[in-house]
C-alpha cells in the first residue's frame, strides 16, 4: 500500500471513531428538539402529534462507548491502520503458517513411523494404505479415475502394464518428477499408402484383425518405430514407449486411432507432485499405487 492510501485509511478510520465519540457526547445529554412542556421530545406534527420521550437505559449508551474503546484497542493490537503492523504483529500468512506447523506437529509421529518402512511394509500397513487411498482420491483420481483404472489417455494403474516401469522406485519417480510422454509425428515422412501399411503391421503385433499383405509391406517401415518401441514392438520403459503387442491402448486400438497417433504424434504429461505432496507422502503414494496392481496380479 502506498503511503498516500495508508494515510487516507488512517485518517478515515480515526475520523470515524472521533465522529462517533462526538455524536454520543453531543446527543446523549440533551434532547435534540426544543424543550416541550411534558415528557415529549418537543416535535409537533400535524398540530397535535407529539413524539413521546422513552429514554434508553444508561447502560445502553455505555455499550456505545464500549464499542469505541474496543475499536481503539483493536486498532492498537491489530494491523488496522494503513501500513501500521499492530502491536501483536498478527498476519494472515503468520496464522496460516502457525496452523500448518500445528498440523505438522500433530501428524509428524505418524509420518516418522511410516518413513522407516520399506515399500512392501508400507503396502501391508493399514494406516499407510488409508492415507494412500485418501491422497489418491484427492490428488490422482481426477485423471486416473476413482477406481484407478484410468480413462482414455490416462493410464490404468491397476493392470500389469507400465509405461515407465511398475516397480515402486519407478512409480515414485513418476510421482515426484512427473513424466512427459512424446510420440513424434511421422505423417510427413511417409505417403498415405505406407502409413496404412504400418497401421496394419501395428495391428498385427497384438494379434488384432488386419490385412496381412499390407502388414507385411509395412513391416520394413517399422524399423524407424523400433528405435523407441523395440524391434519386437514390446516398447521401452526407459523412454516411456508403450508395448504395442498387448491389449492395452491408451488412445484406443482401432485403425483410425493408431493412424492418428502415427501421423500427428502424441504428447502426454504426468505432472510432477514433489512440491505438492512432499517426499514422505509421495513414498506412501507410490506404495499405494504399487499394491493396486500387485495385489491383483495373479
Amino acid at each position: 500500500m502506498s503511503s498516500g492510501w495508508s494515510w487516507f485509511i488512517i485518517i478515515l478510520t480515526l475520523a470515524n471513531i472521533a465522529g462517533c465519540w462526538w455524536l454520543l457526547r453531543r446527543y446523549s445529554g440533551q434532547r435534540p428538539g426544543e424543550p416541550g412542556a411534558d415528557e415529549t421530545m418537543g416535535h409537533v406534527w400535524d398540530g397535535d402529534l407529539r413524539e413521546y420521550n422513552q429514554p434508553l437505559p444508561l447502560w445502553w449508551m455505555m455499550l456505545f462507548y464500549l464499542t469505541i474503546f474496543f475499536g481503539i484497542a483493536y486498532i492498537i493490537l491489530y494491523p488496522a491502520l494503513g501500513n501500521y503492523k499492530g502491536v501483536l504483529g498478527w498476519t494472515q500468512t503468520g496464522q496460516y503458517e502457525n496452523e500448518l506447523q500445528q498440523a505438522r506437529n500433530r501428524y509428524s509421529a505418524i509420518y516418522d513411523r511410516l518413513a522407516e518402512l520399506s515399500f512392501d511394509e508400507l503396502a501391508a500397513d493399514e494406516q499407510a494404505m488409508g492415507i494412500g487411498h485418501r491422497l489418491f482420491v484427492i490428488n490422482c483420481s481426477v485423471c486416473h479415475g476413482s477406481d484407478a483404472r484410468g480413462a482414455p489417455t490416462f493410464p490404468n494403474l491397476t493392470d500389469a502394464d507400465w509405461l515407465y516401469g511398475g516397480e515402486p522406485d519407478a512409480i515414485l519417480t513418476s510421482i515426484l518428477k512427473g513424466r512427459a510422454g512424446m510420440m513424434p509425428p511421422m505423417g510427413a515422412t511417409m505417403d498415405d499408402q505406407t502409413i496404412d501399411n504400418v497401421v496394419q503391421y501395428v495391428l498385427s503385433l497384438s494379434g488384432k484383425d488386419h490385412d496381412s499383405a499390407a502388414a507385411a509391406a509395412g513391416k520394413p517401415m517399422f524399423a524407424t518405430c523400433s528405435a523407441c518401441h523395440g524391434l519386437d514392438g514390446r516398447g521401452n520403459q526407459s523412454l516411456g514407449a508403450p508395448n504395442l503387442t498387448d491389449d492395452v491402448w491408451l488412445y484406443g486400438s482401432d485403425a483410425a486411432r493408431i493412424r492418428e497417433g502415427i501421423v500427428n504424434g502424441r504428447a502426454n504429461r504426468m505432472p510432477a507432485h514433489e512440491d505438492l505432496l512432499g517426499p514422505e507422502r509421495s513414498r506412501i503414494m507410490a506404495a499405494y499405487i504399487y499394491q493396486l496392481s500387485h495385489e491383483r496380479a495373479p
Binding site: 424543550p35 447502560w59 490416462f154
Partner: protein, 456 residues
C-alpha cells in the same frame, strides 16, 4: 419522572426490589422453576447406550438426542423445531398471553433463583432497600459477600452444565476437578457463567424491556380475548385508603385500597393499575398479593386477576377465534409432519459423484464403463453391510471397490463404483439410479445418476 427541561435520551436504571409474595400462582412459578432447572441440570448427565443421552457434538457435527443421532444432512429438523417453537409461541400467546414470560422463560427462571438467593442473604424488600442506602458495615459486607458467593457458584455451575451439552459433561467435570480444562472450555464456561450472572443478577427486567423481541411484538398477537393480568378498574376505582371497618360503598370508594403492594411485588417495576403494558411478563405476583389483601379486607378476591380485556369490562370473551384454529392447525400439521418424517427417517445417506475426468471408457468385450465415487453415510448407531444395485434402460452391472461395503456406525465411507453396460446401450446420456441396501432390506437409499455412452 424526570423534569422535562432536563429530559435525557438516556436514563440510569432504577434498581427494583421485588417484594416477596406467596400464593397460588407463585407456587406454580416455583414449581416451574424447580422442574425446568432440574431438567436443565440433570439432562446432560443421562446416559443412553453408553454415551451421553443429549450431546451436541459440534466438532463431530453430530447431535445426539437419546436414540436419535442427527447429522448436518438433518438440518431440516432444526427448521422444523424453530417453526414449531414460533407457532407454539403464537398459539399460546393468543390463548394464554405471556405465560412463557412468566413461567418458562430462562430469563425469568434464573432471575427468580437469583432473587431467592438475594432474599436468603440480604433479607426482604425493606431490609434490602435499607441496606443499600446504609453505609458499609461488617454485616452489610458479610451479607453482600454471601450473596455474591451464591450467585457466582450458581452461575459457574450453570456455565459448566451448558458447556456439558456440547462436550461430554462427565469428562468436563473431571477436568474441572483436576484443574485441567483446555483454553476454549474454560472460556465458554466463564462466558456462559458471566452471561447468567449478568442477566439474572443485574440486567433482569432490563432484558425483558429492552432486549427481548417477543416483548415488543407480542402485541401483534394479542386481541381483546387474550388472557392477560388485568386490574378490574370498574370494581377498584375510585381507589383510596380506608379502615377495615369502613363500608366502601358508603365512603364512595372502589375495592382498591391503594396499598401499592401490586407495584412493590412487580419484578419489572410497573403499576398494573395503569392497564396492559408491554413490560408486564404475566408472572401474576400482583394477582397473588392483591388476593391476599382482598382476603384481609374481607373483599372478594380477583381485583387483579387473569382475565381477558373483554371479560374485565363485562363482555363475553371467546376462546374459539379464527386465529386460534389457524395456529392450532398449522402447529398440528408441522408437528405431525416432523414426527412422521423422524419416524420414517432412513439413517443412511448416499452421495453420488460422477468421475469428471472422462465420460466413459470402453473395456474388454466392448462394454461401456462409467465410474462413480459413492459416499455412503451411516447415520445409524450400528454398523451396516451394504449391497449396491443399479437400474438403467438396459441390464447394467455394478462393481465396487472394495467389493463388500461395511460402514461403521456414524462414519462416512467413500468407495469407487464401476457401472458397466453392454456395447449396444443407448448412445449419449441416460438417467440411472443407484441403490444401496442392507441384506435384510430394512434400510435402502436410492439416488439418481447419469450414465454416458459413446454416440454412434
Amino acid at each position: 419522572m424526570k423534569d422535562s427541561a432536563n429530559a435525557a435520551l438516556y436514563e440510569s436504571q432504577t434498581k427494583i426490589y421485588p417484594r416477596e409474595v406467596s400464593g397460588r400462582f407463585q407456587n406454580l412459578r416455583a414449581t416451574a422453576v424447580v422442574a425446568l432447572l432440574g431438567l436443565y441440570y440433570l439432562l446432560p448427565w443421562l446416559r443412553w447406550n453408553g454415551r451421553q443421552a443429549v450431546l451436541f457434538d459440534l466438532p463431530a457435527r453430530k447431535f445426539h438426542l437419546f436414540w436419535l443421532t442427527l447429522w448436518p444432512q438433518d438440518l431440516i429438523y432444526l427448521t422444523a423445531l424453530l417453526i414449531t417453537a414460533a407457532l407454539s409461541l403464537f398459539f399460546f400467546t393468543t390463548l394464554f398471553g405471556r405465560v412463557w414470560c412468566g413461567y418458562a422463560c430462562p430469563q425469568t427462571v434464573w432471575t427468580e433463583v437469583f432473587i431467592w438467593m438475594e432474599r436468603w442473604t440480604e433479607g426482604d424488600r425493606r431490609k434490602r432497600m435499607k441496606m443499600d442506602q446504609a453505609p458499609w458495615s461488617l454485616d452489610k459486607a458479610r451479607r453482600k459477600t454471601a450473596k455474591q458467593f451464591f450467585w457466582v457458584m450458581f452461575s459457574l455451575f450453570t456455565g459448566l452444565t451448558f458447556v456439558g451439552y456440547f462436550t461430554p459433561i462427565a469428562e468436563l467435570s473431571g477436568k474441572v476437578a483436576t484443574a485441567s480444562l483446555s483454553g476454549w472450555e474454560s472460556f465458554w464456561i466463564f462466558f456462559y457463567s458471566a452471561a447468567t450472572y449478568g442477566n439474572a443478577g443485574f440486567m433482569r427486567e432490563q432484558v425483558c424491556k429492552y432486549m427481548c423481541p417477543y416483548a415488543r411484538f407480542q402485541s401483534a398477537m394479542f386481541d381483546r380475548d387474550t388472557l392477560i393480568v388485568a386490574y378490574d378498574e370498574n370494581r377498584g376505582e375510585p381507589r383510596g385508603g380506608r379502615r377495615r371497618s369502613t363500608d366502601p360503598a358508603k365512603a364512595g370508594l372502589g375495592d382498591c385500597i391503594d396499598c401499592h403492594k401490586c407495584v412493590q411485588v412487580c419484578p419489572t417495576g410497573i403499576d398494573i393499575r395503569k392497564g396492559l403494558q408491554y413490560e408486564c411478563i404475566a408472572c401474576a405476583a400482583c394477582v397473588d398479593v392483591c388476593n391476599e389483601v382482598m382476603d384481609n379486607m374481607g373483599y372478594e378476591p380477583g381485583l387483579i386477576r387473569y382475565a381477558t380485556e373483554n371479560s374485565v369490562v363485562g363482555k363475553t370473551s371467546h376462546i374459539a377465534r379464527p386465529r386460534v384454529f389457524v395456529y392450532a392447525a398449522l402447529l398440528l400439521a408441522v408437528i405431525s409432519l416432523t414426527g412422521f418424517s423422524l419416524a420414517t427417517r432412513t439413517p443412511l445417506g448416499l452421495d453420488i459423484i460422477r468421475d469428471r475426468n472422462s465420460l466413459y471408457r470402453v473395456v474388454d468385450g466392448g462394454r461401456i464403463e462409467n465410474v462413480y465415487s459413492l459416499r455412503i453415510i451411516n447415520m445409524d448407531n450400528e454398523a451396516h453391510t451394504l449391497a449396491v444395485a443399479v437400474t438403467g434402460s438396459v441390464e447394467m452391472s455394478v462393481e465396487t471397490e472394495p467389493a463388500t461395503l461395511t460402514v461403521d456406525a456414524g462414519t462416512i465411507e467413500a468407495v469407487a463404483a464401476r457401472i458397466s453396460a453392454p456395447a449396444d446401450v443407448q448412445a449419449g446420456g441416460q438417467d440411472i439410479s443407484i441403490r444401496i441396501y442392507t441384506a435384510d432390506g430394512k434400510l435402502s437409499v436410492e439416488e439418481p445418476a447419469r450414465f454416458m455412452a459413446p454416440a454412434r
